[in-house]
Amino acid sequence: MFEFLRPVFRNLLRRPSTREYPFAVREPFRDARGHIEGIDREKCVFCGICAKKCPADAIRVDRQERVWELDSFKCVVCSVCAESCPKKCISVSPVHRAPAGEKSRCAIEGAKMETPKKPAGINKEACVFCGICAKACPEGAISVDRTEKMWSLDKEKCAGCMACAEKCPKKAIIAE
């Protein structure tokens, strides 16, 4: 008899299941993607790979003006930019971005740095002319001809991100 009293008393004594959010904030989960904080302006070479990979078209990179700009309200926080960055200079915070009354942009101006390192050439014995470097190049500065065994670099176009050297399976690209 009075079976129902047991859950009644249990519910009376138990703490409420509601999370008291604004008063008690939980720690974010491990590897959570909250928002893109910005770039390390010392490390960034403004190659623009992040802008090309961004599925939401939220990033704009100007190589001449050395400006990196993120539309934080268009960003879907997939963190593809951070993963594809050859310099690993984009930081992702696990805390979510707070709601705002106005849409703001996160614009970071680059530090004046010395001319970035560019690939000087290839180790002809190691290179197999696979063309992976040409595909990895964000500026399309590398052209590879497999049949002619030709590798050439347009130094004007090259941003100096060294993504080619990183992607090369034979590690045949020599830095300046």
Partner: protein, 169 residues
């Protein structure tokens, strides 16, 4: 009158409209209304009738079909009202902003008061937005009351015996 003003700020009712969303944001909005996050602690009640609502929560980008419905809901709401855009799509159009049928974010159609970024935003972010919206609603109500009082004072100055006073005499 002041009591009503204050009480209204303590219980803003919301209406939720899924404009063109993928349902990710909608699930988070409903999660923030469940007992775990419990937005009703702030006096919020999710209603189905725009005539009862003070806050409009929109998820998803606006397309040519949903634009009319969205504007209709907004027009049916009594003023003052607050619009919250939840998610990257509602803020700017998100990954769909270049699609042929998309107008853009909610702010292309309605005046948006609070933007919640994220894809999808966390329920915590939506709770933050709701709290900010209540503050904004109280502020808008006060502004409206002040404007009304100013208007009445102007009419009185023009015609001291006009209006309600004339009826009484």
């Amino acid at each position: 009158m002041k009591l009503i003003q204050k009480a209204a700020g303590k219980s803003p009712w919301i209406i939720h409209y899924d404009c063109n969303s993928c349902n990710g944001c909608d699930i988070e909005i409903l999660a923030s209304l469940t007992p775990i996050y419990d937005a009703e602690r702030f006096g919020v009640v999710n209603v189905g009738n725009p005539k009862h609502a003070d806050i409009l929560i929109v998820s998803g980008s606006v397309n040519y079909r949903s634009r009319r419905v969205l504007e209709n809901i907004w027009r049916e709401m009594p003023g003052p009202k607050v619009v919250i855009a939840v998610g990257a799509c509602a803020c700017t159009g998100g990954i769909f902003s270049d699609c042929y049928n998309i107008i853009g974010g909610v702010d292309k159609v309605l005046p948006v008061d609070i933007y919640v970024p994220g894809c999808a935003p966390k329920p915590e972010a939506i709770l933050d937005a709701v709290v900010r919206a209540t503050e904004k609603l109280v502020h808008k109500r006060e502004e409206l009351a002040a404007r009304q009082a100013e208007h009445v004072a102007k009419l009185r100055a023009k015609d001291p015996k006009g209006g309600r006073n004339a009826e009484k005499q």
